[in-house]
């Protein structure tokens, strides 16, 4: 319980005055313009907005894939500006899990090898990586498809493999960039239910989407417009995972 309190007091993701400016020729594009944002551990957040509103830029920054032009951000208490390239790689490996719209699975490797990949880059000891990879695939319901290559799997199954891969290193945050953008309605529901389950197990989930059906699974919706937060609302029907716990 004490841990929960600390987690609530100190957000797992924290951004202060975050700006990202791209130079396109002579023109400056302000993808993010002074964003302040806190996400507590255990939250399920949907980030919405039209294209060019800055939501993807924010995702890249939270995912430690990119550095802001100005402003500061903290992930599980660590200031990203003070971290080296290798530190950021380790942070992505240990703390973050990514799910992409295009799945980004390695075509030449089977599901098991894809899921095991982050474990092989891990620098801390995570135990038996083969067992963990199998466990993650079973968790997403693909225990019987481990030796299938991405080409032999449906879109929904591929995204499940990608989710299993994101879970392999037991991340605290799952970042999903339009995870259902390439899937039909039925599979979308399956994938989002899976994310909801993971969130109930305590993983903080941040999803970028432009679909209201997807955002409906989240406990909190943040709308972006022109690089700024337009609205930030808690969803009345869905309770925060951490809050749901007794």
């Amino acid at each position: 319980m004490a841990n929960d309190t600390i987690a609530k007091d100190r957000p797992i993701i924290s951004c202060r005055n975050l700006s990202k400016i791209y130079k396109m020729g002579d023109e400056e594009v302000r993808a993010l313009d002074g964003v302040d944002l806190d996400i507590a551990e255990g939250e399920f957040v949907a980030i919405m907005g039209p294209s060019g509103s800055g939501k993807s830029s924010l995702m890249n920054l939270i995912g430690a894939l990119d550095r802001p032009t100005s402003g500061e951000m903290w992930i599980s208490g660590r200031a990203l500006s003070e971290m080296s390239r290798d530190d950021l790689a380790d942070l992505r490996n240990e703390t973050l899990g990514f799910v992409f719209q295009q799945f980004n699975l390695l075509a030449r490797q089977d599901a098991f090898q894809n899921v095991r990949l982050p474990l092989r880059y891990a620098r801390r000891d995570l135990g038996d990586s083969d067992a963990r990879a199998k466990e993650c695939l079973q968790m997403v319901g693909l225990g019987d498809r481990m030796d299938h290559r991405p080409m032999q799997l449906s879109g929904g199954q591929q995204q499940r493999v990608a989710i299993a891969r994101a879970l392999a290193n037991r991340p605290r945050i799952l970042l999903a960039d339009e995870p259902t953008g390439a899937l039909d309605t039925k599979t979308t529901d399956e994938i989002m239910h899976l994310m909801q389950d993971l969130n109930r197990q305590g993983i903080t989930v941040v999803v970028i989407t432009h679909e209201n059906e997807v955002a409906a699974y989240a406990g909190r919706k943040i709308h972006f417009r022109d690089g700024r937060i337009e609205s930030d609302t808690a969803h009345p029907d869905v309770q925060r995972a951490s809050g749901a716990r007794p």
């Binding site: 390239r85 380790d90 980004n104 390695l106």
Partner: protein
């Protein structure tokens, strides 16, 4: 850095496009094959030269008369005033001389009861066998007494014996050398080809010097009891170069050469001459090595080119690997391993081809085949180094990619 993931992904990339891998390896294959052939031929030649040196002996000095100028015309090597037997006696007095023998040779027609054979008759002293470290394998050597008395005996080289007595049993037989009847008393062990030094050294007949002079070659108008050359065996442990100098001094005195005048004789160390020839072979080897190096470099550039293409093609994959926690070093290692694996595999194929080449060369040129572990290690090492050197730039390029741009790459 994680070696496991780097090696497995390198192997995977290598075999995912076998044709492209093979074409990329072509330069390396040719380079390594030529390194193999070049080194093997070089080593073979070196072994041959070593054998020659040991057959001549490193501490034997040979004295030859110099060239004679008559009316401003050079009469050619060995045409000058010959030596005398008294010179040999004087040389033997030198403290460092273990043994000395005069030599006097002439091409001669030998006839046995079974065959005719044109060979060389070589006159020598009893110490001829010591000085040349050449022993009889059958029969016996002639003695000092037989030399003194001018006995008509001879020891045959293997080739001469085989040609004069195709059925064997040469010892005790009589042959006629330029009509002089001579008894065969021994057969010398084989010395083999001397590679440019008079061809087959076994095609010879060795006989007492005085007898050869008196009955076959005839005397010299200027010098009584002459010899055309002297071989001196220098004692072990004595510096051959010093011996060469002392002998030159002594012979200048004996031949009454004034200071400032040129020597009219030469003191030659055949081992040195062979070594000089070996140096020439080495230059040739260096040239071949340079050619091999050039083809390895060209192969390396090919590898670099393909690796750069591969990095570009797999930019998204690199981005993904970075997103899930691969450090720059991991990516660097992955592509470096790929380049090294590509080159090492090419090296192995090249080595197999080089082996075939060396074998073919050995058959055609009838020279010994030498494929030592050092050659194999050098060839493989060279291939791997090419991979390391030319793989580094593309690998570093991959490692320095920006994760987000790599992920967005189409």
């Amino acid at each position: 850095m994680k070696f496991g993931v780097a090696t497995s992904s390198a192997a995977e990339a290598l075999f995912s496009n076998p044709l492209r891998s093979l074409l990329t390896m072509l330069g390396i294959i040719i380079g390594v094959a030529s390194v193999m052939v070049m080194m093997s031929i070089g080593e073979g030649a070196k072994a041959q030269i070593d054998k020659q040196i040991s057959s001549v002996g490193t501490n034997v000095l040979t004295l030859r008369p110099g060239n004679m100028n008559r009316g401003g015309r050079n009469q050619g090597g060995g045409s000058g005033r010959p030596f005398a037997e008294s010179d040999i006696a004087a040389l033997t007095q030198l403290p460092f001389v273990q043994a000395a023998t005069g030599t006097l040779s002439q091409s001669a027609n030998a006839v046995s009861e079974e065959a005719n054979w044109v060979s060389t008759i070589q006159g020598g002293d009893a110490s001829y066998f010591d000085v040349n470290n050449w022993r009889v394998s059958e029969g016996r050597e002639f003695t000092a007494q037989e030399v003194q008395s001018g006995a008509a005996v001879a020891v045959l080289g293997k080739t001469a014996a085989a040609n004069l007595f195709p059925n064997g049993r040469a010892i005790g037989q009589r042959i006629r050398v330029n009509s002089v009847p001579i008894e065969v008393i021994g057969i010398l062990e084989s010395k083999g080809q001397s590679g440019g030094f008079g061809g087959d050294r076994d095609d010879t007949m060795v006989a007492p010097l005085g007898m050869v002079r008196n009955r076959i070659t005839g005397g010299n108008r200027q010098v009584s009891r002459h010899v055309s050359g002297i071989q001196v065996l220098v004692q072990d442990g004595y510096e051959v170069l010093d011996a060469q100098e002392d002998i030159t001094t002594l012979m200048r005195e004996r031949r009454k050469i004034q200071p400032g005048e040129q020597d009219n004789f030469a003191v030659v160390n055949f081992a040195d001459m062979i070594k000089q020839r070996a140096a020439a072979t080495e230059t040739m080897s260096m040239l071949l090595a340079f050619t091999a190096a050039v083809s390895l470099i060209v192969g390396g550039v090919g590898v670099m080119n393909i690796m750069l293409v591969s990095v570009t093609e797999r930019t998204r994959e690199i981005g993904l690997r970075m997103a899930i926690g691969a450090r720059g070093g991991d990516i660097l290692l992955q592509f470096l391993f790929e380049a090294i694996a590509l080159c090492t595999l090419g090296g192995l194929i090249g080595m197999a081809m080089g082996w075939v080449g060396v074998f073919a060369y050995a058959q055609i040129a009838n020279s010994p085949m030498m494929v030592s572990p050092i050659i194999i290690a050098t060839a493989l090492g060279a291939a791997a180094s090419v991979g390391l050197i030319f793989g580094f730039f593309p690998a570093r390029r991959a490692a320095q990619l920006d994760p987000i741009q790599a992920l967005r790459h189409d």
